[in-house]
C-alpha cells in the first residue's frame, strides 16, 4: 500500500521518462518535494516520523542528483530499460576514441607537470564542449531514434570524458594548494 521508495524518479518528479529534461520543472519539483519531506520540517515530531522523513528526503536528493546530471540520467534510463551497459567491465571502445583519450590524458598531465593553470582551464573548456556533442548524440539515441545499444556505447564514452574532467579538476586543485 505504500509508495515504493525505490522506484522511478521520473514519476516522483512528474517528468516524462526521456533523456531531454525540463530543468526548470525538475528544480521546481525538487524544492516542492523537499519542502514536504525535509527532516527540518519534521524535527519536532516523534522518532518514527523523523526517520521516515530522513528516508524520503534522502530519496528525493538521490533522484534529483540522478536526473540532473546527463551521465547519471543516461545510466538511469538504461537501468530502467533493463539494458546492462556493463559499464565497468566492457571497455571495448573504438581505437580512434581510445587514441583520442590518450592524447587528452597526455595533454592534461603535461599541463599539470608544467604547472600551467591556463592550459588546464583551456583543456577544461575544450572537454566541456566535447561532452556537449556526446550529450546531443545521447538525446537522439534515447528520444528521437531509440537505440539503446548505441546509447550504452555512447554512455561509456561520456564516462571517459567525465573521468578526464575529474582529473583536470584534481590537477587544478593540486596546483592551488
Amino acid at each position: 500500500m505504500s509508495i515504493d521508495l525505490h522506484k522511478d524518479y521520473f514519476a516522483l518528479f512528474e517528468l516524462p521518462r526521456s533523456y531531454r529534461i525540463d530543468r526548470e520543472a525538475l528544480e521546481r519539483r525538487y524544492l516542492q518535494l523537499q519542502q514536504q519531506v525535509h527532516p527540518d520540517r519534521h524535527a519536532h515530531l516523534p522518532d518514527a516520523e523523523r526517520r521516515r522523513a530522513l528516508q524520503w528526503a534522502t530519496r528525493v536528493n538521490e533522484g534529483f542528483q540522478t536526473l540532473r546530471r546527463s551521465l547519471a540520467r543516461a545510466r538511469y534510463l538504461l537501468d530502467l530499460a533493463g539494458v546492462d551497459a556493463a559499464l565497468e567491465t566492457n571497455t571495448a571502445m573504438s581505437p580512434e576514441f581510445l587514441m583520442e583519450q590518450m592524447e587528452w590524458r597526455e595533454a592534461v598531465s603535461e599541463a599539470h607537470q608544467a604547472g600551467d593553470v591556463d592550459e588546464l582551464e583551456h583543456l577544461h573548456r575544450r572537454l566541456r564542449s566535447a561532452a556537449l556533442t556526446v550529450e546531443d548524440e545521447l538525446a537522439v539515441l534515447f528520444d528521437d531514434r531509440p537505440d539503446l545499444d548505441a546509447a550504452a556505447e555512447t554512455v561509456r564514452r561520456l564516462m571517459f570524458l567525465e573521468k578526464l574532467d575529474q582529473e583536470i579538476d584534481e590537477a587544478l586543485a593540486a596546483l592551488e594548494s
Binding site: M1, Q32, V37, H38, R41, A43, L45, A48, L54, Q65
Partner: protein
C-alpha cells in the same frame, strides 16, 4: 497534531504553544546563545549585559568550575587548569593538535580524543565544551523562564564527522536536546538572507578564532541552498596571535618561556593584533617570570607581512569551493564576512581583491551565527509561522569512503553532496569460505587512507561460507541532516547484518557518556534526578498527544488489530508518565515509538501523495 502538519509541515498546530528553543554558537574564542522573541532573533545577555561568553573553562581544586570572563582572567595565573580554545581539540588525537608546544596543557593521549590533565583529573574536550554549553543553557533558561525544548548548535562547516559527533556529545552532556547541528556559515547566511531578503549567489567567508570556513550559497525565494563548502578546521585568529607571539620571542631574543609567561605573552599578542585593526601600531609589553621584560612595538604593515601567508592560506579553500560550485569569483553577488578575525584590514583587503568587490560588513560578525541558529531552532521546534516558510539544503564538507586493497580510499559519498544522502556499494569475498569481512570508514579527499581521517572500523561476521566472489555484501552509508554518518553492512543472500553509527574511534561511547552524566548527577544531587524525570514526562506527554492526534486524523489507515495495539501501548505510556519511574517512562516511550513506525510511514506516504498534485496515485504504487 501531525495531520495538520501534513498540509503545512513544520508549522505548529497550536500556535499559542510556543516552545522554548535557542541557537548556540559554540565558538573557539567566544560562545553565544540566541532565541527568537516576537519573530525577532536576539542574543541573550549575561547578568552584566554581555552577549559573548569567552569559551574558557577553569577547573578549581575544590571541585568547582568557572566559565567565561572570570576564567579568562585566571589564564596566566593558573594556565594548566584554565582551558581556552578547547574547540581545537574536539574529536582530535594528540598528533592532530597544531602548535602543541605553545599550549600550556598537560595532554593525555587517550584513544580517539586527547584528554587534558587538570586538578580535577583528566578532562576530555567534550566535557570542557559541555561546561560552556551548560553555562549558556542556564543563562537561557533563566532569561526565558522555563526549560528548553531544544537547541541548534553550530559547528564549522568544515568539521568532520568526529568533530561533529564530539559537539553533539557535549550538548547531550550539558543536558541539551539537540534539534540540529548547523554549519556556521549557513547560520550566518540565514540571518543575513532573511534580514535583507537577499536573492542570488553569495559567499560566506567565516574566519573565527580557530576555524576557517567558506560556503557558497544560492538564495532563491526562501530556499538556502549550499552549493559548496570548504575550509580549514585549524586556521583562525589564534594562528595570527601565534605568529605575533613567535615574532615577539624572536625580536626580544628570549627563550621559550614558562607556561605562565607563554599565556601572558600570547594574550599581549592578541591584544596587539586586535588593536592593529584600528591603529597603525601597537605595543607588546610584558614582564616575564624571570624578571626579563618584553617591550616591543609592532606596526600594521609589519603584522600584515608576517601573517600574509595565513591570509593566503584562506584563499585556496575559496578557490576550491568556487570550482566545486562550478562558479567564478565574478558570479558572486555578495560576500558576507563572519567571525572576529575578519576585522583585520588586510583580511578584508585580500577578500575584496579576490572577489573584485567590497565584502559586506553591515552585520555584526560576532553575533550573526548565533542569530541565524536561533531562527533555525525556532523553526525546528515547531514555532514556525507562515512567513517563516524557508528551507535549508546543506552539504557534507568532506568525502566519505572505505579503505580498499593497498591502503587506498574508495569514495562512497563525494564532498558537497546535499544532505541527507545515502549511497550503497557492493563488495564481495576474496577467499573461498570467507566468513568475515572488515571495514574501515574514512573521511577526506586524499587517495591514501593514511592521509584521510579514520572514522570507524567494524566487522561483518557470520557470512555463510561460499566460493570467493559469490557473496554480495552491500555497505550503505547514510548521512543525516546533522551531517552525521552511520554505516551498515549486509550480506544479501543470507541477510546477515552489521552496522555502526560512526562513533567508536573518535566520539565517546554511549557508556562513557552515561558515566559522565551519572557523575554529573552525583554532584548536583536530587535536583538533576527530578529534572531528568520531568524531561521524560514531558517527552512522554508529547508523544502521547501526537499519537492521539494522528489516530484521530488518520486512524482509517490502520487495521482494527493494529489500532488496538497502538492504543494499548498508549495506555501503558499514560500510566508510566503518571508514575515517577524514569526507566519505565523511557521503556513505554520506546515501545510506542516502535509500535507506531508503520503507521507513521503510512501517514508520511499519504502526505507525499497529497503533495503530488495532479499525480495519479496508482502510478506511484509500483
Amino acid at each position: 497534531m501531525a495531520l495538520l502538519q501534513l498540509s503545512e509541515p513544520g508549522m505548529s498546530a497550536e500556535p499559542h504553544q510556543h516552545r522554548l528553543a535557542v541557537g548556540i554558537d559554540l565558538g573557539t574564542t567566544n560562545s553565544l546563545v540566541a532565541t527568537v522573541r516576537n519573530g525577532i532573533s536576539v542574543c541573550l545577555n549575561d547578568a552584566d549585559g554581555r552577549a559573548m561568553l569567552p569559551s574558557v573553562v577553569r577547573y578549581l581544586a575544590d571541585g568547582g568550575v568557572v566559565v567565561g570572563r572570570e576564567a579568562m582572567q585566571a589564564q596566566s595565573i593558573d594556565p594548566r587548569n584554565t582551558i581556552t580554545s578547547v574547540k581545537r581539540f574536539m574529536g582530535r588525537g594528540l598528533k592532530d593538535v597544531t602548535h602543541i608546544e605553545s599550549t600550556p596543557y598537560d595532554f593525555v593521549d587517550a584513544p580517539g580524543m586527547v584528554r587534558l590533565r587538570t586538578v580535577q583529573g583528566p578532562k576530555s574536550p567534550v566535557e570542557v565544551s559541555a561546561e560552556i554549553l551548560k553555562n549558556l543553557r542556564q543563562r537561557a533558561e533563566a532569561s526565558l523562564g522555563g526549560e528548553l525544548t531544544g537547541a541548534v548548535i553550530t559547528v564549522p562547516a568544515y568539521f568532520d564527522d568526529a568533530q561533529r559527533q564530539a559537539t553533539k556529545d557535549a550538548a547531550g552532556l550539558a543536558g541539551l536536546n539537540v534539534l540540529r547541528l548547523l554549519n556556521e556559515p549557513t547560520a550566518a547566511a540565514i540571518a543575513y538572507g532573511l534580514d535583507n531578503a537577499a536573492e542570488g549567489v553569495y559567499a560566506v567567508y567565516d574566519l573565527g578564532g580557530g576555524t576557517f570556513d567558506i560556503s557558497i550559497l544560492r538564495l532563491t525565494r526562501g530556499v538556502f541552498e549550499v552549493l559548496a563548502t570548504n575550509g580549514d578546521a585549524a586556521l583562525g585568529g589564534d594562528d595570527f596571535d601565534h605568529r605575533l607571539f613567535c615574532w615577539s620571542l624572536d625580536q626580544a631574543r628570549i627563550q621559550p618561556p614558562s607556561a605562565q609567561d607563554l599565556r601572558r605573552l600570547l594574550a599581549r599578542s592578541r591584544e596587539a593584533k586586535e588593536l592593529l585593526s584600528h591603529a597603525s601600531e601597537a605595543p607588546i609589553v610584558c614582564k616575564l617570570g624571570s624578571g626579563e621584560e618584553v617591550n616591543l612595538t609592532v606596526g600594521r604593515d609589519e603584522f600584515a607581512s608576517i601573517t600574509d601567508n595565513l591570509v593566503r592560506k584562506t584563499l585556496a579553500p575559496v578557490r576550491k569551493a568556487l570550482r566545486d560550485a562550478g562558479l567564478r569569483a565574478e558570479d558572486i553577488k555578495g560576500v558576507v564576512m563572519v567571525g572576529g578575525a575578519t576585522r583585520m584590514p588586510h583580511v578584508q583587503k585580500a577578500v575584496a581583491d579576490f572577489f573584485g568587490q567590497e565584502p559586506l560588513t553591515n552585520l555584526d560578525p560576532d553575533k550573526v551565527v548565533a542569530l541565524g541558529a536561533a531562527k533555525q531552532a525556532n523553526a525546528l521546534a515547531g514555532n514556525r509561522s507562515a512567513d517563516e516558510d524557508w528551507l535549508l539544503l546543506d552539504v557534507i564538507p568532506l568525502s566519505l569512503g572505505l579503505e580498499t586493497m593497498g591502503g587506498l580510499a574508495e569514495k562512497v559519498i563525494p564532498r558537497n553532496s546535499t544532505i541527507p544522502v545515502a549511497r550503497a556499494q557492493e563488495f564481495t569475498t576474496y577467499k573461498d569460505g570467507q566468513t568475515a569481512m572488515a571495514f574501515h570508514v574514512v573521511q577526506g579527499e586524499r587517495e591514501l587512507v593514511s592521509d584521510c581521517r579514520s572514522l570507524a572500523r567494524f566487522e561483518l561476521r557470520g557470512i555463510p561460507p561460499m566460493v570467493a566472489g559469490a557473496a554480495r555484501i552491500r555497505v550503505t552509508f547514510q548521512v543525516d541532516a546533522d551531517g552525521l554518518l552511520s554505516v551498515a553492512a549486509r550480506e544479501m543472500s543470507s541477510g546477515v547484518e552489521a552496522s555502526v553509527t560512526v562513533k567508536p574511534s573518535y566520539g565517546l561511547t554511549d557508556d562513557e557518556i552515561a558515566e559522565m552524566l551519572k557523575s554529573g548527577f552525583d554532584h548536583a544531587g536530587d535536583d538533576m534526578g527530578a529534572r531528568a524525570l520531568r524531561e521524560q514526562q514531558v517527552d512522554g506527554e508529547r508523544l502521547a498527544e501526537a499519537t492521539r492526534h494522528a489516530l484521530a486524523a488518520d486512524g482509517e489507515l490502520l487495521e482494527p488489530a493494529a489500532r488496538e495495539k497502538i492504543e494499548g501501548l498508549l495506555g501503558e505510556l499514560d500510566a508510566a508518565v503518571a508514575g515517577s519511574d524514569v526507566g519505565k517512562i523511557k521503556q513505554a516511550l520506546t515501545a510506542l515509538n516502535r509500535g507506531t513506525e508503520d503507521f507513521a510511514a503510512a501517514r508520511m506516504d499519504k502526505s507525499i501523495r497529497s503533495a503530488l498534485a495532479g499525480q495519479k496515485i496508482d502510478q506511484l504504487e509500483v
